[in-house]
């Protein structure tokens, strides 16, 4: 099986500013891969390239072996900011992808609303929900269309630490046993370690490149509440943080 996403010698500039340069990366199908790096290192650019929202200045993105042109129809994208439609209810927001595809079924939308624990809030508008609930809606919105690839851009960064851990747990529960590929961007190394099969470290921008790839051999299923205290977690953390720290310091210096 070809990789779910492959970046081939990708560079992307915005005006005179080069965000990422010379990126070669393959994301294996069914894998959970995180990209970490200091702020402004072009992490989101990688996601937008994989989504087809922007096109590479050089190189090409392939999705399951075929070169991507236009939007990536096999991917769903969970954004860092709130991207729900504020004038639609929870139920309508969750069912949005189905509606756009012409396969709307209220029953399926309801199932997903229940699955993310919002049954009592189906008729509410996003402004009436807490930050964590809005993320749940966004998650259901992505999963209901049954994408092969999930692109996630620091989806939980705005949440408090406990809500965040719960959401990470829910994400893992959904993903475990599914054939879906996840490309997860975060600046939080602990989050990346506890969720992923592989962690990719990007250098400080501009013109970020990949400086290391680490296989995370922590056994699954993982207990997110306790995983941070395991010795192997600590080893991996120290190893990767040693590299990441350099990049963070460099990005401060710029």
């Amino acid at each position: 099986m070809p990789p779910a996403i492959s970046f081939e010698k990708i560079s992307r500039s915005f005006g005179g500013y080069t965000a990422v340069d010379g990126i070669d990366l393959e994301i294996g199908a069914g894998k959970f891969v995180s990209v970490v790096g200091p702020s402004g290192c072009g992490k989101s650019t990688l996601l937008n390239l994989a989504a087809g929202l922007i096109v590479p200045s050089k190189g090409a993105v392939s999705v399951f072996g075929s070169v991507l042109s236009g939007l990536n129809r096999r991917a769903a994208y969970m954004f860092q900011q709130d991207a729900l439609l504020p004038w639609k209810t929870v139920l309508e927001n969750v069912g949005l992808g189905l509606r756009f595809r012409g396969t709307f079924s209220e029953e399926r939308a309801r199932q997903w609303v229940e699955r993310v624990g919002l049954a009592a809030f189906a008729g509410k508008f996003p402004s009436q929900l807490s930050g964590g609930m809005r993320k749940r809606v966004a998650m259901a919105q992505c999963w209901i269309v049954d994408p092969d690839i999930l692109l996630m851009d620091e989806p939980f960064s705005a949440l408090d630490i406990h809500t965040r851990m719960r959401m990470e747990g829910e994400l893992l529960d959904l993903w475990t046993g599914s054939p879906k590929t996840v490309l997860f961007v975060t600046h939080d190394l602990e989050e990346a370690l506890s969720l992923s099969d592989e962690v990719v470290v990007l250098s400080a921008g501009p013109a970020s490149r990949i400086i290391a790839r680490h296989v995370i051999d922590l056994p699954r299923p993982r207990d997110l509440m306790d995983i941070r205290t395991e010795p192997r977690f600590g080893e991996l953390y120290r190893e990767i943080w040693a590299q990441l720290k350099q990049e963070v310091l460099t990005s401060y210096a710029r």
């Binding site: 989504a51 929202l53 939007l71 990536n72 129809r73 991917a75 769903a76 994208y77 954004f79 860092q80 900011q81 709130d82 991207a83 729900l84 439609l85 504020p86 004038w87 639609k88 209810t89 949005l96 992808g97 509606r99 756009f100 595809r101 508008f125 996003p126 402004s127 009436q128 919105q141 269309v145």
Partner: protein, 251 residues
Amino acid sequence: MRGKVALLLGQLSIAVAFLSTWQVLVTTGKLDKFFFSRPSDIAGRIGTWLRTGSIWPHLFVTLEEAALAFALGAGAGILCGFALARSPRMGALADPFIKILNALPRVVLAPIFLLWFGLGIWSKVALGVTVVFFIVFFNTHQGVRDVDKSVVDNARMLGASEWQLTRHVLIPSALTWVFSSLHISIGFAMIAVVVGEYLGASRGVGYLISQAEGVFDTTGVFAGMAVLSASVLLVGLGVNRLERWLLRWKS
């Protein structure tokens, strides 16, 4: 609740103080009755209007003109605002002309519209349209261009076609802006049609006021003004309700 009652009492006492001062000043001859009329006379005049029902046809015409002006102006404003926001080239092309037209004081258009559309309701509607159009146009324009980029990206990633994007994201976003300027545009529509009536008409509250002015009937002028502000306030209350319902998702 107690704060609310106290506030209401305070407001009421200001109104009573103002009106009774006015009443006393005129009655004792400190102010000339010919120029200032008297609250009691004004109330009496309004009472007569209501009792004989002579006010209703005028009020009805004014409201009809305002409603038509609003409907036409808002419709055209939404269409143009949308078209120009979606096509940056057309927007850039039209930009100076829209600015020029909007810079024009509308009152000077009234005589022209009288020539073009006659003394009936359409010259007033036209004047109202020129006011409402620009308010709605600028709000729609802003609403379409201001729509959150990640909301648009999200809809597109979820598979929205161009038309679905317009229908589910861009139009609601633009309408948000239009709704939140609803009471401004409706209030302005009322003002514009009254100005139109004032400058030349055979019916309407504006016409009533200008008739009274023509015969130095200050009581009639004030009574007309009172009726006008009361109806603008009432319409405004209704619009506020409507606005709250339409924007209920904004919590």
